[in-house]
Symmetry: C2
Subunit: 438 residues, 2 copies
């Protein structure tokens, strides 16, 4: 079976068991949207509506969504939908007029950060937030060198796609970018934090040797695209110290782990007892509405602020702000951190129990409701079997995907509202899929 | 009176006549959002709601909005608000699942383009659209040289802020970027099209002399930030021919003129009888909702599409698509191109009539409901007087701004739904403001 070289779990035209209507839709899509778009799965899913943890296809079949972290509160959460609709009908304009809503949003957001991280700038996407973080870091440090992990993903602008090796060999890394091995306990020797920091230090030295001043270490604080690495807590601290000693800044990319995903905290960096210079936010911030942002320590913004202005037309508009407020209210009022921790622990235990009966289940890494579950064969990474599991689950009405450099890591990331019975349903379907290999 | 060096019509802290409540709000804003944000006007406007052509401040005072081209259909247009709300409650997910709404949106959008421009990629902001256009152009041409006008604005990512000299000297231009004189009939000698093209050719030659292969000529097709230049129709053609002869592509930035602003056409480039390689869209596309895109000729996407994928999490999500469909429906059903042409002509005639009585009104440039009205003193650019007019109009309940390298051009850009009585109200207020200089 052919695979897409540029993306794990991408649909390859000509495969799958598609209805004529869906084949026509795919042809129409290729004609209108062109060759750079990708669909998920061997047989793409044609979705029509979403509600809570469920997505429904055009024929009414239900799928348990254990993948999408944008609709982190569940699809079409009524409190958020209402907030968007209400503010859209009142006032939707931008930040060059005074308006309370964006400030209320900023205040609420910052209340969930350590006091040192006391300012926020609003964008529309995580890509824009990371891109802005680079501009600020370059202005502040005078450097241009950037260090990322070897299968990192930080977005799609020209600048941040150049920091995103997971986009594949067709997308060139920036000439001032260096990659380091991900903090994978199975690959790095000795103390994980020291080993990861040693990689960062080597990258700093290499940048310096080439006359490039180090400006930034940026990591997704759960290393989603590298395979999900969260333990042991604290392992990030030595690497952060290394980039600071070299005069650079540390950016925590919280687009994936942020807003309670890891259960224990609002932000992934808190697991490591560190204080980032900047924190980029995205996907779950509006539960589907395009809102994102960059939280920072005022001192790192000083030079950028003195040199120029920043205006993002839609960033921090009143509807975006009202929507993000509603998202935070739901997280607080529905106790979603606690739920993510509790159901996450239950689901992790369930995966470990399944691993006793299914040798394909290798090491598991988990943080709240974010799981990286290796699929192995004879103890070795088994990307083909991982793809089979992902696609068989899709047929069985459960949506997940795969990740990691080899594509052998199941990426399991259900909404934070997941209940125990739904977790059990997921485990039951996975059990069945693993019991009946192709 | 002090001026902000980085932006025309920016509030300078300490000025104006602010209530204590608004002073507190500004202090809170500076604390939460930091130093890179700017407010408009000597005395910022504290807005609370919007409806049609009117914005209302926190104390109930009404302002005729003759500036904001995001809410191009009028603020909080009910058809658009309903479309956003309806789709938000049904399904909001992304383009890696099959769904009709994004394709319906693409089809409707492309129906308003010449048949050669037959594909669209969705982003959230005009900045992202221009940034993506650069990535595609660099992949397609193998070059990296970019040519822009000398006070151009194309967005805020790291890459496109480097093509945006209007952001001020604090934001460095890219090393592969060259600027050319804007097509200002008052400055360029002889045939405007030939003179502008000569500037582009000189930039091509300079890039080539430095070993940089020209990739892109990108212009806002009404040259908004340069001072609004739209006439004579067709003047862009020789410059487009020049960049093509050098192996580069022509990108029409339609973030400002697009979606009917110029009255005669949906897109500003159509005024010039040219066919761009790519067309970037933004601001008015969602009437406030963050949706944008890039329309292109399939042949320029071939190499980018073969090398990698593009995925923008919120770009083309079902709510964005439903909202953009609603915007296009309103433009079509309310006859807004015709209205922009008709009311635009009326307003332009009114400005010319006023100029007979007010010597401060210099040359006027107009296209539909987009106006650049020079403010002069003894025939010379008068930015201080332009600022006075902008701020006096704000006090009189009319919102406009100023633009151009010197800041002496009134930027007048009312919603496309403007009616004759409202245009007359604007003219009346302007008349009064000009009759009573400070």
């Amino acid at each position: 079976m052919k695979r897409d070289e540029t993306m794990v779990n991408a649909y390859v035209p000509g495969q799958g068991h598609l209805s004529q209507a869906d084949q026509d839709l795919i042809a129409r899509r290729a004609r209108l949207l062109g060759p750079a778009y990708r669909l998920f799965y061997e047989t793409p899913v044609h979705l029509a509506r979403g509600s809570g943890v469920w997505l429904h296809d055009a024929e009414g079949k239900a799928y348990l969504d254990c993948y999408n972290n944008v609709a982190s509160l569940g699809h079409c959460h009524p409190h958020v939908v209402q907030a968007t609709a209400r503010q859209s009908a009142i006032y939707a304009s931008h930040t060059r007029y005074l308006n309370e809503v964006v400030l209320d949003c900023a205040e609420k957001l910052l209340s969930h950060f350590p006091p040192e991280l006391s300012q926020v700038m609003f964008t529309c996407t995580g890509s824009e937030a990371n891109d802005l973080a680079l501009r600020i870091a370059f202005a502040q440090t005078g450097g241009t060198g950037v260090i990322v992990t070897e299968n990192a993903y930080h977005g799609v602008t020209l600048a941040v796609s150049g920091l995103s090796p997971s986009l594949g060999a067709g997308v060139a890394l920036g000439q001032h970018v260096r990659t380091v091995a991900a903090p994978d306990p199975a690959r790095l020797q000795g103390d994980l934090g020291q080993a990861f920091a040693a990689g960062v230090q080597a990258a700093i030295d290499d940048l310096t040797r080439h006359g490039i001043q180090p400006a930034v270490l940026i990591v997704d604080t759960v290393f989603s695209s590298d395979g999900v690495f969260a333990d042991p807590p604290g392992f990030l601290a030595p690497a952060v110290a290394a980039i600071r000693a070299a005069g650079g800044l540390f950016i925590a990319d919280e687009v994936q782990p942020g807003f309670g995903r890891t259960g224990a905290h609002w932000w992934g960096f808190q697991r490591h007892g560190i204080l980032p210079d900047m924190v980029s936010l995205g996907k779950p911030m509006g539960n589907g509405y395009p809102v994102a942002g960059l939280v920072l320590r005022p001192e790192v913004l000083a030079r950028f602020g003195a040199k120029g202005r920043y205006f993002n037309t839609f960033g921090g508009n009143a509807v975006a702000a009202a929507t993000a407020i509603a998202v935070m209210e739901v997280i607080e009022q529905e106790g979603l951190l606690q739920n993510a921790a509790m159901i996450g622990a239950h689901l992790a235990q369930g995966l470990r129990d399944l691993a006793k009966r299914h040798s394909a289940l290798g090491p598991l890494r988990a943080a709240g409701l974010f799981f990286g579950q290796d699929i192995v064969r004879d103890g070795q990474p088994a990307p083909v079997e991982a793809a089979r599991v992902v696609n068989a689950l899709r047929e069985a009405g459960v949506l997940i995907s795969a990740t990691g450099p080899a594509g052998h890591v199941l990426k399991i990331r259900p909404p934070l509202i997941l209940q125990r019975a739904e977790a059990d349903l997921f485990l039951d379907r996975l059990d069945q899929v693993l019991a009946h290999p192709a």
